[in-house]
């Protein structure tokens, strides 16, 4: 086979995958009226997702905040003005790093297990069994998972933001001679300056987290539902789920930032 044919057939599969994901997203949106009926299961899912991802998210967020403070601190020190360190750390965490870290960790821990679980059901005919009982797999399996991550991703993001800023404050105090008080004051000011009820810096980040949560769940469920061919197929589904989630997190993050800070001012 020549290169062109390989690239071509690859492209066709990608477009096909994307079509399936979009279709699943629409079908999930149309199933929203079933949320009350799946509430218990949804909350269970959300709780489990939170518990599973929490420890890793906290550790990574603390280090990410510390790294941010160090990297910006090095430059600020050269200019002799480290007072804005709190501002920069808080803004970077809330706008970008917090949602990003949370999303990637949720994709790796919760998204992967969603793909494995649904993929296993698919290859052992359990999804077909649901269909045969006239139980729609979209509202029975996909909807609760999507809602669960739509709740959990923003929640964990708020925590990552706080822990990240704390990580930064430790570095600021110990290595950059910025007092805790100064650091936290400038952080608070940065996050409340816009005068609206929920400052833009915070809500744009939370909107990102919400979109990431939905994207991770949809992409992972889609990968699971399309699994075929036994255990090997389930493995491939997990790989697809994590890869596509990470790609989407980056692309959606870019689009949201661009929209709120460049397009809409």
């Amino acid at each position: 086979m020549n290169v062109l044919a390989i690239v071509g057939s690859n492209l066709v599969t990608r477009v096909n995958d994307a079509g399936y994901v979009m279709d699943l997203l629409l079908r999930t949106a149309m199933a929203v009226r079933y949320v009350p009926r799946r509430l218990r299961f949804t909350l269970d899912m959300a709780f489990n997702a939170g518990v599973r991802a929490l420890p890793v998210t906290m550790v990574v967020a603390a280090f990410a905040g510390a790294i941010l403070a160090m990297q910006t601190g090095i430059e600020l020190r050269r200019f002799g003005d480290t007072t804005v360190l709190g501002t920069i750390t808080a803004l970077s965490m809330c706008r970008e790093m917090g949602p990003f870290i949370t999303g990637v960790i949720l994709a790796a821990t919760v998204g992967s297990s969603m793909a494995a679980e649904i993929g296993t059901m698919k290859v052992s005919d359990e999804v077909a069994a649901l269909e045969v009982m006239s139980v729609d797999p979209v509202n029975y399996l996909v909807l609760p998972r999507v809602i669960a991550l739509a709740i959990m991703c923003p929640t964990l993001t708020v925590l990552s933001n706080l822990i990240g800023i704390y990580g930064g404050s430790v570095i600021a105090e110990n290595n950059l001679a910025v007092s805790n008080e100064l650091f936290w004051n400038s952080a608070r000011e940065a996050l409340t300056s816009s005068g609206t009820l929920l400052p833009k810096e915070v809500y744009v980040g939370l909107l990102k987290a919400l979109l990431f949560g939905i994207a991770i769940a949809i992409v992972s469920c889609a990968a699971g539902l399309r699994a075929s061919g036994g255990a090997l197929g389930v493995g491939l589904a997990v790989q697809t789920a994590v890869r596509n989630s990470v790609i989407l997190i980056i692309v959606l993050g870019f689009i949201v930032t661009w929209f709120f800070y460049f397009l809409a001012g």
Binding site: E126, A128, A129
Partner: protein, 242 residues
Amino acid sequence: MIALRDVFKRLGDRQILAGLSLNVPKGTNFVLMGPSGTGKSVTLKHVIGILKPDSGSVRVDGQEVPAMDHDQLMALRRRMGYLFQNGALINWLSVEDNVALPLKEHGRLPKGELQDRVMEVLRLVGMDHAAKQFPPSISGGMKLRAGLARALVTKPECVLYDEPNAGLDPIISQQIHELIKEVRDTLGVTGLIVTHSRACATICGDHIGILEHGKLAVEGTVDEMVHSEHPLAKAFLGGGAD
């Protein structure tokens, strides 16, 4: 009630069904036998509309299944029961919740009645003692019986059984055969049964067909088939078979 005409189906790069025709009159049991991997499970999936044929006709009660829209398919499936080859139970639901699932999802019964109905069917398949257990912790044979209970709980007019006695000991096998027969005799349920077992075929069946190379190689009433000289009939139903 169930009629397949010249059904062709390709899966991957293999032609699984190639001109399969079979006919199951109302209130009778048709037994489908054949070597592993010849497409018996695939045939059942066509009847209930999980798979669509590449060409040919699949009819239930005179209605063309592949041509049905979503609502028609749902309506059809509510009248049918399907026992999957390994039970296909939902892992995070207990045995009784699995059996109750089709009833709960369609809100067809009040709670107390629902519970009674579930326990009644579980008793029929000899699984009432394991009602509270979860699928990962029960044996293959138990999963199968729970799957059978789930297929029967909605009082379907027609049941598709995919190897209802695989992995069961002779005593429980015998009970399941009697159950399948009884369901036909007392409730008039139409059955399409996939099995490798001679006992199951002769006890439960009215008609037997043997699938090979994508179509029925030989078929006939149980009596005809047991005495048939066809090599496949001899292999599956002759004295040497079990």
